[in-house]
Symmetry: C2
Subunit: 196 residues, 2 copies
Amino acid sequence: VARYGKEQKHATRQRIVESAGRRFKRDGIDNSGVAALMADAGLTNGAFYAHFASKDDLVATALADQLRAQAEHLRALPPGNPGLEQFVRWYLSVEHRDAPEDGCPSAALLDEIGRSQPSIKEAFTDGSLLYADELAARLAPEDPLSVRAQVLTVFAMMLGAVQLSRALADRRLADEILEEAIESALAQFGALNQSR
Amino acid sequence: VARYGKEQKHATRQRIVESAGRRFKRDGIDNSGVAALMADAGLTNGAFYAHFASKDDLVATALADQLRAQAEHLRALPPGNPGLEQFVRWYLSVEHRDAPEDGCPSAALLDEIGRSQPSIKEAFTDGSLLYADELAARLAPEDPLSVRAQVLTVFAMMLGAVQLSRALADRRLADEILEEAIESALAQFGALNQSR
DNA sequence: TGTACATCAGTGAACGCGCGTTCACTGATGTAC
DNA sequence: TGTACATCAGTGAACGCGCGTTCACTGATGTAC
């Protein structure tokens, strides 16, 4: 409504970024209009361009923010294997599957990101590596880069399992896949851990 | 342009279903408008409703058609392990990653399907089980149902790896994930095969 | 310290555009006689 | 066999609507004097 200091504007921008991240994950990027995104933050559509150059700019920013937050969340878990197991069990939980708006942006939006313009893919790539290297550091603290691709492959399984569990109309089978995926992820991370 | 026999109408419908399947996988469901879908089939938008009740009706039909075709393609591969390995190597190939329009609908559209209405999820579920049971039959011919969830979990890894490989801006890392996923899929299918 | 002014985040209407769907119409066909 | 007619797949314009983006305007603020 008015002009405040720089901190106020930055706080408003961050509010938009965070509520947009939630809506994108719930409804998809294409299904989230600028007017709805701004309404979520208690604003009207016109103010959008005082904060972002375009919708794609917000998409890239929100994606980076979500992945950074998730990497931080991961860093806050207990060190070593217990934290890793806690992460796997949360990621592949029924709760995470049923609340995409609070969950992993990759599980919610990965195929839409794959069809996006380069700037969005780059934001996603940078954020994902932050995230993956946090996992890699728990498995091979002295050389995280050596297990990066393996970690990403196990992560691909986890994300695919969540997507599949969300898309299947058969609830029992959907739950079974999550359980199977927990077992598989723990086994694969365990094997990586052993061979370091 | 005119009235032909019932076969003609069915052929036209099938032409729409197939070209729509390709466009959905390339551009996403939301980004594929009815007018563009009909133009792909050499028709104009108005004729659409002579063949389908709604766009969602076409989405469900195209999804079912794609998954059925993929299951048939799978059935045509050499029996047993060699065919399975061929499938894994095709699915996780650079060619499949770079040509989503010719590839697996799950890898291209899974998170969009997860946000769709029940009728679309049901079509996807039925088609996926057809597909998964074809894989399961190669691993446990006497009791395919016993390995269904495990097969779907390995499949989730494969589909997640393709999506991740499409979304990453780092080409080298994207390729590395595909290779890692081939190794992992073959190992996991091998383990399933051994324990039957 | 009090007043005049420049700033600019936010408003809300409007822009052209493409969406899914409807509809009056066309005209080649298969059918009835 | 030849002619009149009913059928209906396909046409293309139009419907209301929401999209991303632009823009003239507002008004509370921080700043200059």
